[in-house]
Amino acid sequence: MWRWVLPENEPDYRLMRRVAIGEEEAVAELYDRFSALVFKLSLQFLSNKAEAEDAVQEIFVRLWKTADRFDPRKAKLVTWVMLITRRHLIDRIRRKSVRPKQQEFTAHHGESATDAPHPSNVLLHERTAQHWQALQTLPEMQRTVIERAYFQGFTLKEVSRQIDAPLGTVKSALSRGLMRLREHRTRDSSVLGS
């Protein structure tokens, strides 16, 4: 069951306490450790480097604001940082007015030349061709929910309504799809490395 003792001696916990009170050195340390990951993920979600840089600044402000909620018993610091990052990027995508319309989601969503793909989809095509290929290996349901929830920022309930599937099915498909995508990419990397 839940471990009640807070690990105050945990270095990451202490770091985030210092970040929470706005200590500049602590924020700099946090940046040095995680900026590369945060930037890469921002670049994956957003349309260009300038937008990604803006997002990184906003994300570190959000990390400062939420630093006192970090609990090392529940997650490692990198997990927390990436969670805040992903949430911020998804919020940012959701705030954007340009979103694919409902009727654009046909059986060949995102692949039709007549569709107006979301900027993140453009990025997906242009920057990560291998990733796109991996996505194509997934069953259609998994591919659809990953595109809509992960890359286009739709909520799981919205995706559930769009594809007329129960919420639980969407969750399962998304979770399995993300894991399969990761396994696929890991396998590719090991093949390339051999």
Partner: protein, 278 residues
């Protein structure tokens, strides 16, 4: 997994979605509850799984951030901190109001006139001189009470009713810190709200992991930076808050894990000189 709304496989599925930031707030809360209720081995498994997903760069581009970005990030955080301080700055007016109220009473013409009249009419009678002094003191006390009520109303209206609870709760643990040596002007008041649900017993509320605290710096030298530092019973030293004096009254809210309250001692430390406030 007693009282858990999710079984093992659902919990792992949700852990994947949570790590990707894909759960909405309610689902995230349900997941957290299930996580807390899960056996330690499952918790460890989830922590490891989420760590693997968080550090997985296989789906990410290889670009690195430009060197100039670090400065921008530090500036953005500093600016956000300043804005937060400015948002709370109206509270500093309360101190100014108290000062003004005191000043008005000291120098009001009517008070002077009545004093003079009293002096003329009753001359050197010692008894009435004492009465005059007493009435003056009472007026100041009354003024301070009115100002305090105005201050509490102000805090309440500015959207921080919990701060009023802390300030007015007689069971709040309050520490007044003054410089150990040197200039005795200004002080810091640290309030720790023992328990929002039952202030008589800090250990009753099992659901809250933290208690709320507030530190107020009064009449500190402008630019002074004081760290509020606690030492736990076991000797652990923890910095809870940092006060940067930009006004005559500087508020700072903080949280303290409940399990650190027992035997906690609190001091202030000047961030620039290391001088202590006790």
């Amino acid at each position: 997994m007693n009282d858990s709304p999710h079984n093992y496989s659902e919990l792992l599925e949700l852990a994947v979605l949570d790590a990707h930031g894909l759960l909405d707030p309610i689902e995230s809360e349900l997941f957290n509850r299930s996580f807390h209720n899960a056996p330690a081995s499952v918790q460890d498994e989830i922590v490891r799984l989420q760590h693997r997903l968080a550090t997985d760069e296989s789906l990410l581009p290889s670009d690195l951030p430009p060197n100039s970005l670090k400065g921008k990030v530090l500036d953005a955080v500093a600016k956000a901190a300043d804005n937060e301080a400015k948002r709370l700055a109206p509270l500093a007016l309360i101190g100014a109001r108290v000062g003004a109220a005191r000043g008005n009473i000291n120098t009001t013409g009517s008070v002077v006139m009545w004093r003079t009249a009293a002096m003329i009419l009753f001359g050197a009678t010692v008894v009435l001189a004492i009465l005059s002094f007493d009435s003056h003191r009472t007026a100041i006390e009354f003024s301070e009470k009115v100002s305090s009520l105005q201050a509490l109303d102000f805090i309440r209206n500015e959207g921080s009713p919990s701060m009023v609870e802390t300030l007015t709760n007689p069971l709040s643990r309050i520490v007044r810190l003054e410089r150990e040596e040197g200039n005795k002007n200004g002080y810091i008041r640290v309030s720790i709200f023992s328990n929002l649900n039952d202030p008589t017993d800090p250990n009753v509320d099992d659901t809250a992991e933290y208690v709320r605290g507030e530190a107020f710096g009064y009449d500190l030298e402008v630019g002074a930076v004081v760290i509020i530092r606690g030492t736990t019973k076991s000797g652990e030293v923890i910095d809870f808050a940092r006060i940067t004096a930009s006004n005559s009254m500087v508020p700072q809210v903080f949280k303290i894990p409940k399990d650190q309250l027992q035997g906690l001692t609190i001091v202030g430390v000047d961030a620039k000189t290391g001088a202590r406030w006790i």
